[in-house]
């Protein structure tokens, strides 16, 4: 299969890559650009571990073709911290022990950031339904939801 040349923006930086039309955006991020923060848990859009932002929309990167990134803006977990400062969500996930194995954590953080960017004061129920597309098997979700609510409060505070 002939490869396409794609120019796009990832975490604010211009990026070029070659990929076959069959490669998903997740395949490109991980196996072409070596951004392995986004994880493959199912490759069918059912686990959310590959969540990224595409033109400001939260999506599963396993259900987007790499060639569809042409001219679009992508944000991954690797872009969430700024310099040496973690994003409040990243800090609260650590403080609340909201992760154990951590393989679902990048997807949860990207999804939670997408939530707080549009709804700075969500209820517990709103957090739980927004994050229902991110599966976690270790934590039972309790500390994840608490970390998101705590981060929201802190971000509203300052």
């Amino acid at each position: 299969m002939a490869k396409h040349h794609v120019t796009t923006t990832i975490n604010g930086d211009p990026v070029e890559f070659l990929c076959t039309p069959a490669q998903t955006l997740l395949d490109v991020l991980r196996d072409v650009l070596y951004l392995t923060g986004s994880k493959e848990g199912c490759a069918s859009g059912d686990c959310g571990a590959c969540s990224v932002m595409l033109d400001g929309r939260l999506v599963c990167s396993c259900l987007v073709l790499g060639v569809e990134a042409q001219g679009r803006s992508i944000e991954t977990i690797e872009g969430m911290a700024h310099g040496d400062r973690l994003h409040p969500l990243q800090q609260k996930f650590l403080e609340h022990a909201a992760l154990q194995c951590g393989v679902c954590t990048p997807g949860f953080l990207v999804a939670a950031k997408a939530l707080l960017d549009r709804n700075p004061d969500p209820t517990e129920t709103e957090v739980r339904y927004w994050l229902a597309g991110n599966l976690c098997r270790c934590t039972g979700y309790d500390k994840i939801v608490r970390a998101v609510l705590d981060a929201a409060a802190e971000m509203r505070g300052n």
Binding site: M1, A2, H4, T20, P21, A22, T24, A43, S44, G45, D46, G48, S51, L54, R57, L58, V59, C60, C62, L63, V64, L65, V67, E68, Q70, A111, A114, L115, Y129, W130, L131, A132, G133, N134
Partner: protein, 293 residues
Amino acid sequence: MDYRSPGTVKEAVDLLAAHNGAAHVLAGGTDLLVKLRAGVVAPELVVDLKAIPQLRGIAADANGFRIGAATSCAEIGEHAALAAAWPGVVEALQLIGSTQIQGRASLGGNLCNASPAADSVPALIAAGAVCEVAGPGGERQVPVEKIVTGPGKTSLARGEFVVGFRLPKPRARSGDAYLRLIPRTEMDIAVVGVGVAMTLDAAGVCTHARVGLGAVAPTPLLVEDAAKALIGTRVDAAALAALAAATSAACKPIDDKRGTVAYRIKVAGVLARRTAQTALERARGSTTKATGR
């Protein structure tokens, strides 16, 4: 497999015609990419429709709304006027998959993937939505309930694709709602899905009703008998019981990994009643969100 992203409907139609059935259209991709990965489909060419203006965005005018077939459900859900006019339709399309799926999934894809359990379709049927279809023979209008002909099969001719959806302006004292039964609270494919739309007269008698039913037959269904059970009544307990019975009667379900025949038949009636109650409240003017998801 190759990939093209045409800028006009004509360009897309020509591309599809040139590949004589071996090309596949792409809108959100949340169904197509799963099939590609599983090897269920192996097209020579994927034609991405998202760069074509007619397939994007939502327009409101005097006689209703027009939704681009490739518009994401997340975007549609944010359209206040549409959500106010057709809360049931918006509810239904916002139940498709997860937040991440909502960021991509489109009404065109949800309909043309032709799953009997597609969430948006029963509500679109109840709302009386009509598709704008483009193809080698030009454009035509097709009521939503006429598109799906069986699991994975549609009435579209080779090289045709859905460009948009037209929703009428709701009559006064109208309300619609959608409910589905899934084992979990999110992420599942509907075991049963029911869309109800109704209009009341000044005295509170139901003058118009449409009932759409999903996941209980090879195709989504427009259930005339269920509508008849409501029309002419005050949608009281007796009418709701008749609605439930008519809805259950229309079911031709199968046993599968999601539910049994008996289960689907019974729950279809239960959901029809609950959905109709919410549609009724909306028609009477109280803006309640459908209970449960």
